[in-house]
Amino acid sequence: MLGKIARFFFFNFFIRPMVFLYLGVNIRRSFLLPKKGPAILVANHNSHLDTVVLMIACPRSLFSHLRPVAAADYWLKGPLLTWFSTHVLNIVPIHRKKEDRPEGSDPLDSIGKALDEGSAVIFFPEGSRGEPEQMTSFKRGIAILAERHPDVPVVPVYFQGLGRALPRGEGLLVPFLCDMYVGEHLYWSGDEEEFMKRLVRRFESLSREGYKPQWE
C-alpha cells in the first residue's frame, strides 16, 4: 500500500513535472507504445532517466504492468534502495554475475516469469549505461528472451539527449530538450543472428531521425 502511494507520488509529482517542464521530452510515434502487456520494451541506455521517462511515456493502462529489468548488484544494495527499487520502480532484478546466481539458474528466468504474468518489461540490451550519448553493441540476451516468447512484441525505443541531461556518475540534472523515438514492433523470426541484425538496424534508423548536436 505504502509502495503504491510512493509510486504514484514519485511518478506524478516528481518525475512528470521534471521530465516535461524542466527537461522537455519530445515523444515521436507514442501510438506505437503497447497498450497492454506482455511486451518487451527495448531501449538504448545512457542515463537513469531512460527508465523513468519511458515509464511515464507509456499509456496509463500499461503503467501498473511496467517493470524495468535492473541489475540486482546495483539496485538491491542496502535496504532503502531495495525498497525503492522493489516498490516504487517495481524492477525485475537480474543477477549479472554468475557467482550471485543459484547453481544452474538462468539470469533471464525472472524476466520470463514477469512476461508470463502479463508485465511489460523494460530491457536495456546494452547491459549498462556506458559513455553518455554513445550506443554500444547489444548483448544477445534480448534474442534469447524473444525466442522464448515468440508471441510477445519487442518494441524498440531510441533516446537522445538524456545522456547529456544526466550522464552516468553525475548528480546535477541540466535541462536539455530530449527526444524519444518509438519504432515498429519486432517479433522473433527463428534465427538469432537475423533477429539481432534486424533489431540493431531498427535502432540505427531511429538514431538517424533527429538532429544530433555536437557534445564532447
Binding site: G24, N26, P132, G161, R164, P167, E170, L172, V174, P175, F176, L177, Y211, P213, Q214, W215, E216
Partner: protein
C-alpha cells in the same frame, strides 16, 4: 482625464484592454477566413496554416492572461520564454560535457535577471548579464580545467545567454515603466504589447509582401525566402501601424514613432535572419517542435531578440 502616472495594473488600463480585444478580433477573423479556405481547398499547404493559427491562439491567450493577471505573472511568463528559448539554444548548439555546471549557472541567471526587473533595479538589470555573468562564465569554465574548444564554448554560451536571457528580459523591464505626462495610459503593459504586436505583425507583413511581390533576395545564402520587396513592404506597413498605435499605446511623439516603427521593421528582420544563420550553421530547420506550425520558441521570438532591447532603450532614452 484620470491621472495615471503610476504603472498601475494592466487590467485597469483601457488601452491594454483595447489592444488585447483587437488581437482577439484579428484572431477570430483569421480563424474564420482560414477555416473557410481550408474547407474549400483542403490542400496540404493549408494544414500548416491551420496549425499555426491554433498555436497563435495558445500564445495570445497565455500572453493576455499573464498581462491581465499581474505584472509578476507577466514577468514569470517572459522568464519562461527565456528558459524555453535558452533550452532550445543549448540543446542545438555545440556544448562541452565539462561545462555542464556552467550551463546550470546560465539557467540560474534567468530568475536572477528577471528579479532585477521585478525590483526595478535598473543599474543591476543592465549590467548583470553583460558584466557579471560575462566574467563569471569563463571563470567557472577555467575551473573545469579543459582547454579544448574553450573559446568556441565560451562564445556559444555568451551568445546564447545574451540573446535569450538579456535581450528578451528587456520586455520585463519595459513592463515596469510608468506612464508619463504625455500619455496617462502609455505605461509598461501597453509598451510591451506595442513592441510585441508590431514585431510579430512585421514578420507576417514581410512574409505576405514577400509572397506577393518578392523577387530580389536580400541574403540568399542565409534565408532564401527573404526579399527586398518583402522587407520594404513590411517595414512600411509596420511604420504606418507604429505611428497610429503610438498615439494610444506609447508616450512617444508621432515623429519619434516613425523611427520606432522603422527600427522595429528593420531590426525585426535582422533578428530573424540572425537566428536563421545559426540554424543554417547547425544544419537544422526549426529550433524545436514545441509550437506546432511555428517550430520552436526561438523561431517565434527571433525578431524580438533584436526589437525588445532596441525599442526599450529608444523609449527609455527619449521619454524617461
Amino acid at each position: 482625464m484620470i491621472e495615471f502616472f503610476e504603472r498601475g495594473e494592466a487590467v485597469h488600463n483601457p488601452v491594454v484592454l483595447w489592444a488585447l480585444a483587437s488581437l482577439f478580433v484579428i484572431l477570430i477573423g483569421a480563424t474564420i477566413i482560414v477555416n473557410y479556405l481550408h474547407s474549400r481547398g483542403g490542400s496540404g499547404e493549408f494544414d500548416e496554416v491551420v496549425q499555426r493559427l491554433r498555436t497563435w491562439w495558445l500564445i495570445i491567450v497565455l500572453l493576455s492572461s499573464a498581462i491581465l493577471l499581474s505584472s509578476n505573472a507577466s514577468l514569470v511568463f517572459f522568464a519562461l520564454i527565456s528558459f524555453l528559448g535558452l533550452k532550445e539554444f543549448l540543446t542545438l548548439a555545440p556544448t562541452r560535457r565539462v561545462d555542464r555546471n556552467v550551463l546550470f549557472y546560465i539557467y540560474l541567471s534567468i530568475p536572477v535577471q528577471y528579479m532585477w526587473a521585478a525590483l526595478e533595479w535598473y543599474g543591476m538589470f543592465i549590467i548583470f548579464v553583460p558584466v557579471y555573468l560575462f566574467l563569471f562564465v569563463p571563470l567557472r569554465m577555467v575551473l573545469g580545467g579543459n582547454t579544448t574548444n574553450f573559446l568556441k564554448a565560451a562564445g556559444v554560451l555568451h551568445w546564447g545567454v545574451m540573446t535569450t536571457v538579456f535581450s528578451l528580459s528587456h520586455l520585463a523591464f519595459l513592463l515596469m515603466l510608468p506612464a508619463t505626462e504625455s500619455n496617462p495610459y502609455g505605461s509598461g503593459p501597453a509598451l510591451v504589447l506595442y513592441v510585441i504586436i508590431l514585431t510579430q505583425l512585421n514578420d507576417v507583413a514581410q512574409f505576405i509582401w514577400g509572397k506577393t511581390f518578392g523577387s530580389r533576395r536580400v541574403v540568399p545564402s542565409v534565408s532564401p525566402n527573404k526579399t527586398w520587396e518583402g522587407l520594404l513592404g513590411g517595414v512600411l506597413t509596420t511604420t504606418t501601424l507604429a505611428v497610429v498605435l503610438s498615439i494610444w499605446m506609447t508616450p512617444m511623439s508621432l515623429f519619434q514613432a516613425v523611427f520606432a516603427g522603422l527600427g522595429i521593421g528593420i531590426f525585426g528582420f535582422v533578428g530573424d535572419v540572425c537566428v536563421s544563420a545559426v540554424k543554417r550553421d547547425l544544419g537544422i530547420k526549426d529550433t524545436s517542435q514545441m509550437l506546432p506550425g511555428h517550430g520552436g520558441v526561438l523561431d517565434r521570438v527571433d525578431s524580438l531578440t533584436y526589437t525588445a532591447p532596441l525599442f526599450f532603450h529608444y523609449v527609455y532614452y527619449f521619454c524617461y
